[in-house]
Amino acid sequence: MQLMRRKKKVSANQDHHIEAFFKIVGEKEVLFEDVDMLSYNCDGFTIHQHSPKAVVFPKNTREVAALVKYCAQNDLPFLARGAGTGLSGGATPLNNEVIISLVKMKGLLSVDYENRKAVVQPGYVNLHLTNSISSKGYYYAPDPSSQYVCTIGGNVAENAGGAHCLKYGVTTNHILGLEVVMPNGDIISIGEDGVPDSPGYDLLGLLTGSEGTLGVVTEITVRILKNPEMKQTVLAYFDQVEDGSRAVSDIISAGIVPAALEMMDQTAIEGVEEGSFPVGHPRDIAALLLIEVDGIAAGIDEQIEEILAVCRNNHVKEVKVAEDDAERGRWWANRKTGFGAMGAISPDYLVQDGVIPRSRLPEVLEQINEISRKYELRIANIFHAGDGNLHPLILFDSRNPGETQKAVDAGSACLKACSDAGGSITGEHGVGIEKIEEMRFIFSDEEIEAQTRIREVFNPGNLLNQGKLFPMPGRCLEVKKAVQ
C-alpha cells in the first residue's frame, strides 16, 4: 500500500533500471531510497552489512520471472530474500544486488489431507502452516527456532533444521516439489506430484539447501504430518556439563529416538532467564537438557521412565516432566527465543553451527571453553544435542575495536574443532558469507571446484547470490594453514 502521499522520485542520476522495475511490479512495490536500502543491508547475521541497489516485491511467479530475466539480460546481480532471519548472511547483498523480496507471496495455496501435502508460496511463514492445519490434527514438522517469523522459502534455501529434526528430519525430508525460476528467467517444476521419489538425479535435494545460488523458489509442495497421539517433555538440570553430555549419548544408545533433545549451558541459561520468556531455571547449574518424546500413546510412559533413569544414572541434580501443555509451551518458548535473548546479556552475538558425532560432545564442549578463554569472549551454548548440532553463541561488543574480528576468529576456531572431531561446519544455518572460508576445513580445492561447476550449470553468469556458499579458489591462505 502507498503509505505516504509523497510521490516517489527517481532522481536524475538514478539509473533506468528502477523505472524498469516499476513497469514489472508497479511503483509501490519498489524500494530504492538510501534509508530503505540501509534497512536491507543484512539479515540475522549482522557482521557484514551491504546495501542493495533496490528491493522489489513481486506478487506472483510471472513477476519473479520477469524480474529475473531483466536482471540476467542487464547483468544486474540479484538475490531472493524471505523474512531475513538467516544466520549466515545468505540474504545479504554483497554486490549491491537487486533484492527480490518474496514476503508478499505468502499464500497457502492448497492442503491435501488425504495425500498429506500442502502447497505454499515461498513467503508463507513456517508456523502459519501448522496453525492453519492443526485443527484437522496435522502439522508441518521442521521447526527452526525462528518459525514464528521465518518463511518456508527461506527454509528451503537454507535446508533449515530445528529442535524436532532429530526424529523427523530437516527441511529436505519434507519437500515434495518445487516451482523454480531459473537464473535466466525460465520457470521449471521439479518433483513429481505426491510421488516420493522419481527417477533421475535428485534435483529436489540439490535445490534444497542451495542457499539461493541455483534458482528462486516460487512455489513449494511440502509434506504434512499427523499430530503425534501423545507428547511428554522432560527437563533435567546437571551440575556438570559432562554428566549432561553422557546422558545424551546414553539416551540414544538406549534405543530411544526423542523428538527433540536440546541442551543449554550456564551462560545460555543466564541469557534466556534475563530475556522475555524466563521459566525460572536455576542459575547455578552447569547444563540443562530438554527432552521430548512423542508418538502413539502406548510406550511413551516407558520411554519417559527410561529417560529419567538415564538422567539419574548421570548424577542429575533435578529432573521433572512437564505437567501440561502450558508448561511444555513455556519451556519451548524459553528455548526457541534463546538466540534473541542473548541481546539481554550482550550487545552482539555470532552464532556458530558446527556438527559433531554425539560421542565427542564432552571433549568438543571443553575445546569451545578453551576457545572462549583464549579469545577472552564469553560463549553460550544452546544446541540440538541429540543430533550433535552445536550452536556456540559468541558474545561480543562490536563497539570495542577489534572485537568483531576476534569473535569471527573464535567462531572459526569452534568450527575447526568440530571438523577436527570428524564433524562439519554447518548443521542447519547454511554457509552463506559467514562460513565460506571454513568450507576448506571439510572440502579440498578439487571438491569445491566440482561443486562450483554444478552452480555454473544452473547459474552460469553467477549473477544470483554471488559470493555465497563456496570460497573462491586460492583465497585465504591462513585458513589453509589452519587446515594443515
Partner: protein, 460 residues
C-alpha cells in the same frame, strides 16, 4: 566462470559521510535500548505495519536498525527516516514478542522527538498539533466547551441535519467516519464532582482512598465511563478523590515527538497527584504514558526520581479491582461479548487477564475469544487521523477477527472504542462498543434495581 567480487569487513556507508551521531545531543535516543537488539527478527510477525507492507523499514527491528544508523552517522534524519519512524503505530506488540525486551516504543518516541526538533511541523499537521494538542487537550475548560458544543450538536438536531444533508461527503473519508460514531456526550465528572473533595465509599466498610485520573478525551466524550468507574470504585468500598490540578497525560504529545510539552504536562500531573498513594485510570493509553514518565526525564535526575515514584502509583482500573477484590454481581446480564486487548493495556502494561476475569465474573456474560485479540485496531492515539490509510488497513485486519453473533465488544481504551465503533459501522455490523468497567457498573445497577423492586413488592 565469473568470480564473486571481493568484499570487506567494514560496514559500507549508505549515503552520508561517516561522522558522529546525526542526532541532537539533548534527549538523545538511548544506545542501551538498541544494544539489546540482535536483529533476530522475532518481532516481524507481531508488527501490524510490517504485516501490511512486508517492508523492513516498517518493521520493529528495521526501525531500531535505522535509529541506530542515525546515531552512527550512517544516515541523516531525512524524510524516509521520518516515514519509517512515524509509520509505527506505537502499539508495542514487538515488545511482547521480543526475546530480549528491547524497548522499541521508547526508542521510537525518542527518535520522534529528534525528528520534530530537526524539522518542525508545517501545514495541516502543524495546525492540528497546535490547535488540538497544545491549545485544547491541556485545558479542561476549553475541552468542556468543546464537549458542550458536541452536546449541542448532537441534541439540537444539527447532527441529524448534517448527516442527512450529505455535508459529511465533503469531509475526508476518515473524518466523516469519525463523525458518524461520535458517542453521545454527557457531563464530565470533573464538573459534576467539583464541589466534592472526597466522593465517599458506599456501604460501611471503607477499603481505602484512590485518586482518579479522569483523562481528557475520556471525561469529555466518554463521561459515562468515568461515571461508571467512580460508581464501581465506591461500590467496592473505595473513596475517590479527583485532584483538581491534573491535566492531560501528554501521551499524544510524546507520540507526536513533542517531548517538551510532554514533560510540562508530566510535571503538572506528578505534582497534582503528589498526595495520592494510588492513582486509578480507565484509559489504557494514558495509563501507559503515566507509567512511562521516567523516560522523559533522563536529563533531569530530580524529576526522574519523582516520575519513578509517580509511575509506581498508576493502576489501570481493571488491575486495581482485580488486585484489591470486587463484588461479583448477583444478577444475570445475558449477553455475548468479546474482549479486545488495547495495545497499551496488554503490551504496554501487561494487563490481559484482569479485564477478562471481570467480564467472566458477571453472571450471564458469555465471553467469546477473539483471535489475535491483542493486535492493534489502528487507533493508536491520533494515528488514525495522521495515517488514515494504514490505520484503515490495520482496522480491516482487526475486523476480520471479530467473532460473529455478538452483542458487544469490550475494551479498556477510548481511542480503541472510537476506532472499533468506526469498524463496526464500516462493516455494517451491530455490536455495541463498551468499556469493560461499564458492563460491571450496569450489572451492579441492575442488581440494585432488582433489590429495590423486591423490597417495594415486599412492602406492598
Amino acid at each position: 566462470m565469473s568470480m564473486a567480487k571481493d568484499y570487506t569487513m567494514e560496514k559500507q556507508p549508505a549515503c552520508s559521510t561517516k561522522s558522529l551521531s546525526n542526532y541532537f545531543p539533548e534527549d538523545h535516543p538511548d544506545p542501551a535500548k538498541w544494544d539489546d537488539c540482535v536483529h533476530c527478527g522475532m518481532c516481524l510477525e507481531a508488527c501490524p505495519t510490517y504485516l501490511e507492507t512486508g517492508q523492513e523499514q516498517h518493521s520493529p527491528r528495521g526501525r531500531v536498525h535505522l535509529i541506530h544508523a542515525v546515531a552512527e552517522g550512517e544516515i541523516k534524519m531525512d524524510q524516509s527516516f521520518s516515514d519509517a519512524v512515524f509509520t509505527c503505530l506505537d502499539c508495542r506488540a514487538c515488545v511482547t514478542a521480543c526475546p530480549a525486551d528491547v524497548e522499541v516504543g521508547g526508542l521510537i518516541e525518542e527518535a520522534r522527538g529528534q525528528i520534530r526538533r530537526a524539522e518542525p511541523l508545517t501545514g495541516w499537521k502543524k495546525a492540528f498539533s497546535s490547535t488540538i494538542l497544545e491549545k485544547l487537550f491541556p485545558h479542561t475548560n476549553r475541552l468542556n466547551k468543546v464537549g458542550g458544543l458536541l452536546r449541542f450538536y448532537q441534541t439540537s438536531g444539527l447532527q441529524s441535519l448534517t448527516r442527512k444533508s450529505g455535508a459529511m461527503n465533503l469531509m475526508p473519508d476518515h473524518l466523516s467516519g469519525m463523525e458518524a460514531i461520535m458517542p453521545n456526550v454527557g457531563h464530565p465528572v470533573r464538573e459534576k464532582y467539583k464541589n466534592m473533595p472526597v466522593i465517599p465509599a458506599k456501604g460501611d466498610e471503607v477499603k481505602g482512598r484512590v485518586a482518579f485520573m479522569t483523562g481528557c478525551i475520556m471525561d469529555v466524550m466518554f463521561s459515562d465511563i468515568n461515571d461508571a468507574t467512580i460508581d464501581v470504585l465506591t461500590h467496592n468500598g473505595s473513596e475517590v478523590v479527583i485532584p483538581k490540578n491534573q491535566t492531560c497525560c501528554g501521551a499524544l504529545h510524546v507520540h507526536a515527538g513533542d517531548r517538551d510539552s510532554g514533560r510540562k504536562l508530566a510535571k503538572q500531573n506528578i505534582e497534582a497527584f503528589s498526595d495520592s498513594d494510588t492513582v486509578v485510570i480507565n484509559s489504557a493509553g494514558c495509563g501507559c504514558a503515566l507509567q512511562e514518565y521516567p523516560e522523559l526525564f533522563k536529563d533531569e535526575p530530580e524529576w526522574k526520581e519523582k516520575a519513578e515514584e509517580f509511575s509506581e502509583k498508576i493502576q489501570d482500573i481493571s488491575k486495581y479491582l482485580y488486585d484489591t477484590g470486587y463484588e461479583k454481581p448477583q444478577t444475570e446480564m445475558k449477553t455475548r461479548i468479546t474482549y479486545h486487548d488495547a495495545c497499551h493495556l496488554a503490551h504496554g502494561q501487561g494487563v490481559r487477564e484482569e479485564p477478562r476475569q471481570i467480564l467472566r465474573d458477571i453472571p450471564g456474560v458469555e465471553v467469546v475469544d477473539m483471535p489475535n485479540a491483542d493486535t492493534c485496531c489502528g487507533s493508536a492515539g491520533v494515528y488514525n487521523l495522521t495515517n488514515p490509510d494504514m490505520a484503515n488497513a490495520v482496522l480491516d485486519r482487526k475486523m476480520e477477527n471479530i467473532p460473529e453473533n455478538l452483542e458487544m465488544i469490550s475494551m479498556g481504551n477510548p481511542g480503541c472504542m472510537l476506532q472499533m465503533a468506526m469498524g463496526v459501522q464500516k462493516y455494517g455490523r451491530s455490536e455495541r462498543i463498551v468499556h469493560t468497567i461499564q458492563l460491571l457498573d450496569w450489572a451492579y445497577k441492575k442488581q440494585k434495581e432488582e433489590q429495590r423492586q423486591l423490597q417495594t413488592s415486599g412492602k406492598g
